[in-house]
């Protein structure tokens, strides 16, 4: 059997594996961090693990980032308490999708240099604001649990976006730099 390994496809085998691994990593860490509920909020947890979909998005592209965040959060919610909230899963997907947009304006070879790492940090903060904004305000718009926009802002959006932004700002560039160094050492594909 002769295989055409150069065939172009929207989702390559590496992407499929990256999505699976990203999902598994995000879910595995979330299971531990879901215990850190922030007081006065509903199910908003302090999760340093948000850097995982952000990093996967930045390193492997927006689709990989989105799926890692979306499925990782769905599975970890199913493990932690036995259910899932679709809009928070999409919000977590956006945490991975937005850093992945770097691929459209930063050349691949500059993705992991100093400027690239600054871009990773900035995109992680934007992702935290957009992703958690989507999750919190869809709760208000669709009427899932909250009645007022003030509640959505102070009880959901601010605690979730602030903690995710700080975690992403610090940890995503660290992960990107560590990944770049490790890949150089292995002389493999970046």
């Amino acid at each position: 059997m002769v295989m055409n390994l150069n065939r172009k496809s929207l989702i390559s085998v590496t992407d499929v594996v990256a999505m699976g691994v990203g999902t598994a990593l995000y879910a595995a860490f979330n299971v531990f961090f879901n215990i850190f509920q922030l007081p006065g909020t509903q199910l908003v947890a302090l999760r340093p693990s948000v850097c995982i979909p952000m990093f996967f998005g930045y390193a492997f592209g927006p689709i990989v980032g989105f799926v890692s965040g979306f499925l990782g959060n769905t599975i970890s919610d199913a493990i932690s308490w036995g259910g899932f909230w679709w809009n928070w899963d999409v919000g977590n997907g956006l945490l991975g999708l937005i850093p992945g947009l770097a691929a459209y304006f930063i050349p691949r070879e500059k993705l992991f240099d100093k400027k690239g790492l600054v871009a990773a940090a900035i995109l992680s903060v934007i992702a935290a604001v957009v992703g958690m904004g989507f999750a919190a305000y869809t709760d208000y718009i669709l009427g899932y649990g909250v009645s007022t926009i003030e509640e959505a802002t102070y009880a959901l959006f601010l605690p979730a976006a602030l903690t995710d932004a700080v975690n992403g700002l610090i940890l995503t560039p660290i992960l990107a730099a560590a990944y770049s160094a490790a890949v150089k050492g292995r002389a493999r594909r970046v």
Partner: protein, 264 residues
């Protein structure tokens, strides 16, 4: 960490026996109908349907108790928050006495509890789905629902690797401790969980580097070469599954019609 990660509870109820595709379609239909409902009259049938779905699954209270405790805590916190914010910010009350009187008015009560009923309806349905569907059927169900097999396979891969990465955390922590790192332990569960934070970078990087090896192995076995894919577990729709599917479509269609009549 328990061996069975996803909270599946074995059973032989009608809901347990249902095809996962029919259950998933039911959840999607409920989700859609809930999202476009805007009053108690519309929500009540959905809540009853969701509750019947749960009751028919005959899930033992002892095994679902922690989940219900969490859901009821969220509902209690949110109900109080809704009541307080609506009374303080939207009732137009100018004194504490006036606010106390307006707090239990029909308008404030209905606005406070409408989102709670939506949340509870959704929680009851998703909890039933998770507790009654074996995790090994998630990927075949998605694949046989028409979702591209590569996407369905991601779920399979993720469920396969989660326990491995949890073990990896333990191994990495032991390796760090062998080099002199001493995580703050003790009896406090939060400090024990904080010990996981220094593991995020090493475990993620080692897992990321393995991606290329796994992808190479899969490519060498021909994964991704063909557009179609067969599944070891063949799912077949029986009469109850077809009935649930038809009911799900009918629910979504009815609520769409109601929504059009309301807005149009």
């Amino acid at each position: 960490m328990p061996k069975r990660l996803i909270k599946y509870i074995e059973g032989d109820s009608e809901v347990h026996r249902l095809d996962p595709r029919a259950k998933l379609l039911f959840i999607l239909s409920l989700l859609f109908s809930l999202s476009i409902s805007s009053n108690f009259l519309e929500l009540l049938p959905l809540f009853i349907i969701s509750l019947l779905f749960y009751l028919n699954s005959h899930l033992p209270w002892s095994k679902t108790k922690p989940t219900w405790k969490l859901i009821l805590t969220i509902i209690l916190v949110l109900s109080t928050l809704n009541l307080l914010t609506l009374t303080i910010l939207y009732s137009g009350a100018r004194s504490v006495e006036e606010a106390a009187a307006k707090m239990f008015s029909v308008d404030i009560i209905s606005k406070s509890f409408l989102p709670i009923v939506k949340l509870l309806t959704l929680a009851v349905a998703t909890v039933t789905f998770i507790f009654t569907t074996p995790p090994n059927l998630y990927a075949p169900a998605l694949g046989q629902m028409g979702v591209p097999y590569k996407l369905a396979y991601i779920v399979q891969l993720a469920l396969r690797y989660i326990p491995e990465y949890i073990d990896d955390m333990g191994r990495t922590l032991e390796a760090q401790m062998a080099r002199g790192y001493r995580p703050k332990g003790g009896r406090n569960p939060f400090t024990r969980i904080l010990a996981v934070v220094p593991l995020v970078v090493p475990v993620t990087i080692s897992a990321t580097l393995s991606i290329y090896d796994i992808a190479d192995a899969m490519e060498l076995r021909g994964f991704g070469e063909k557009k179609c894919h067969t599944w070891y577990r063949k799912l077949s729709m029986k009469t109850p599954d077809k009935t649930l599917t038809a009911a799900s479509i009918a629910i979504a269609a009815t609520y769409t019609l109601l929504f059009i009549l309301k807005t149009g």
